[in-house]
Symmetry: C2
Subunit: 466 residues, 2 copies
């Protein structure tokens, strides 16, 4: 008869030890298919355990299909394959993913200075939400995001971007990546998706991994070449008109109008307006969004709080034209919101209380000072003789066009060896650039303090010898 | 000359009023393309404003492309289309989305009883995270999720599901929907995606809206019919082996092995094991996951905290086999984590502190009592003479097979009229069911207190007349 070693001192209950033993016997083939097990009462007596213990073990084996029960006859072993189980030694441990290499002077564009974030205010608001809105925190939230946040976003868009959006048109999501992937489902994979070339790499990668045919669209000094769209068979285009990444071009009104005309020429054409860093315009009023010029429901406006607050917050939003909103509600209503209610309520309070506006103003002042310190250090160190800055008055990075002494790869490598992180323009090329294009580097200035700009550029001077 | 009414009492700065006026003149065609504007000095003198004001307005118009500047000659109006602007009356307001109809007795399966959630503990942990981990909260988190949470999940999986998963294999995401959409990108859209028929509707909708060819796979009493997969040209299959939704079938070991064999027969075959409510098994030990039987890296295990904690938390996770993890890190590393770090740290503490296990135990006890109250009320009211319950010992719903007096639609409608919400089995059919299938209803029992089960069933008795 089955005689497992049942150990009362074992953390596991007796029925589980018995269950495991019998399962192992079946899997090892020592108990064969069709074999009858002892009755519960007999086995309990044999093992000096209660009948309940045996019942628990048999019940589990029945539920898992190791045994079958025949009325009045008893329990029989089922045919199961003798499978190698995970009790076998585990695979060698996986290497943890490598951390990002961090250089003393990091002109990366991928983050912001999170020390500017008013964390104590944020924490206070979060505590308020925890105590005041406990009930609403646990219920599944509205698929488009909580109404309070959508109202605050609509108000912000109206005041700062000239966009009239009904809060009902707004859809909140866990990052622009999530929203872009979602838009491919809404707009369909047919027809080409145009992206700016050079441009931000992520939209291209997301669109193509979502199954869209992605077509790089060339630029000129006014941004995306609208005249190239028809030949390229583009149906939907992703653009950054407020501040092109990385060239810094602000798309002029005539080009915006041409783009809107293109979209209105055929049904099913859409413009994804990615306004990722429009909050950071340093001179004059912010440029009106494409969306605010659109009378034909062709523009889907996208923005994120990753740049304006903190990347870890994972809150982006889009403004859907009414006819797309209706389709979305009809076909995609089953999607749950991807952002926890908690962050949404906290952000709504943050915006309603004016904290967001104040934070933007503070950040703008700080980043402007950094940009000026960078430009002034460039003059002082003589960098402006070896290259020239472009990138307009907006955004959080500058483009540095260099003379041809070195290639971009050499410049990046030498800079890194001197402790300075810069990115090559070529990282944003989707197709080979014109052979005569001079080397250029992208310098984000959100992560280096103003007083560190001069030392950073002195290191660059040592590396590049300008 | 331009003579706007500039108003110092206006909230808007003078330069902005001037900018708006000139822009409106250009758009209305009153200032024509090619026309030269007055010099800054002349206009400032005319309007009795400072030169800086005019500079601000001209600068903005230049940046937006309404003007161009020619060195030594001055400012000229650019050709722009006369576009209808959003200053025009806005479209009629959109109807807010309709709230879910809520019935007094709601046997819905879509939520859980959030009153069981230990909110004060959760709030305490969130406050701890806010004060202790402020720095790490704002930095962009690891694309797979914060290591603390992945370690806690791995530990939980090992202790409660027999799954050996390296924390490095775990990917955290904003809901199973997000993860499934993501898996289509990872596994590719080629070949068919099989889903259980009948089954949970969401995987089907997500997979097909992501561009996969979805093929419904029939079931028998042991769950998904593995023998049907080859004829259906399925390459990837989504299954709920621990507790099929809605039939409640627990897939026996022999069928699990057959499914694993099917997956191992061809490269590129995968099984998405959706373990959505496996925490709620009421008798015996939880059934080992398919993943724990898989020696060929064919199973991707998916689970969510929406059922076990609260739907609003939007935290799910998957366990990728090592070779898929490597591919993911190579090709999809650019995706940011979709879950805020804040919730991830709070949940990690919640799990490490044993709160999750205690919460599961409490919930299990509570839900078991509700299930028993439902079954006992069904006997007392005579419902068990008109129909029979199925659904095994697990999960958070039961299936009620009814005699043929009424159709499912009639049963649902009559129940609703009596204040009782039940769902028809047919809501889960992907293809027409066999004509001889009796009507069946899905009864989730997480949202009705034990003491309300008898009144709920008395209402049903009135509606159905059993």
């Amino acid at each position: 008869m089955l005689t497992p070693i049942l150990n009362s001192a074992d953390r596991r209950p007796l029925y589980e030890q018995l269950y495991r033993h019998i399962r192992a016997e079946i899997e090892a083939g020592r108990l064969r298919a069709g074999e009858r097990l002892p009755s519960k009462r007999a086995l309990a007596a044999h093992l000096k355990v209660s009948v309940v213990t045996v019942e628990g073990a048999y019940g589990q084996l029945l539920a898992e299909g190791y045994l079958r029960s025949e009325p009045k006859r008893g329990f029989f072993v089922q045919a199961v394959q003798q499978e190698r189980r995970t009790d076998a030694p585990a695979a060698p441990p996986l290497a943890p993913s490598r951390p990002r290499a961090s250089l003393p002077y990091d002109f990366s564009t991928s983050g912001v200075d999170t020390s500017l974030f008013p964390f104590s205010t944020w924490a206070k608001l979060m505590r308020e939400v925890l105590s005041a809105q406990a009930d609403s925190l646990l219920a599944a939230s509205h698929p488009q995001g909580v109404p309070e946040l959508r109202r605050a976003v609509a108000e912000h868009l109206y005041r700062f971007r000239g966009i009239r959006a009904d809060p009902e048109q707004i859809v909140v999501g866990a990052g622009s990546e999530t929203l872009i992937a979602f838009l491919v489902q809404l707009l369909g994979r047919d027809g080409g998706y145009g992206v700016e070339d050079p441009g931000y790499a992520k939209p291209h990668r997301i669109l193509s991994s979502c199954g869209a045919a992605v077509r790089p669209v060339p630029l000129d000094g006014h941004g995306l070449r609208v005249d190239a769209l028809s030949a390229l068979k583009v149906r939907v285009v992703h653009v950054t008109p407020s501040h092109h990444y990385p060239l810094g071009i602000v798309m002029p009104v005539a080009r915006r109008q041409a783009l809107l005309r293109w979209a209105s020429e055929q049904p099913g054409r859409y413009i994804l307006e990615d306004d990722y860093d429009s909050e950071f315009r340093f001179s004059g009023r912010p440029i009106p969004a494409l969306q605010s010029l659109d009378s034909g429901e062709r523009v889907i406006y996208l923005n994120t709080f990753a740049k304006s607050l903190a990347p870890s917050l994972r809150i982006s939003y889009m403004v859907l034209p009414p006819h797309l909103l209706e389709r979305w509600r009809r076909e995609f209503w089953f999607y749950s919101s991807t952002v926890p209610s908690f962050e949404q309520y906290a952000l709504a309070r943050f915006m309603e209380g004016g904290h967001f506006e104040r934070h933007l103003n503070r950040s703008r002042t700080r980043y402007k000072a950094r940009r000026e310190a960078l430009l002034s250090a460039a003059r002082d160190t003589g960098l402006t003789r070896a290259g020239s800055f472009a990138g307009g008055d907006a955004g959080l990075h500058l483009l540095l066009w260099m003379d041809r002494r070195w290639t971009e790869a050499e410049l990046v490598e030498r800079a890194a060896a001197a402790g300075v992180g810069v990115s090559p323009l070529s990282a944003c090329d989707l197709t080979p650039p014109p052979p005569d294009r001079p080397p250029a580097l992208i310098l984000g200035y959100t992560r280096i303090a103003a007083e560190d700009m001069a030392p950073a550029l002195r290191h660059l001077k040592g590396a590049w010898g300008f």
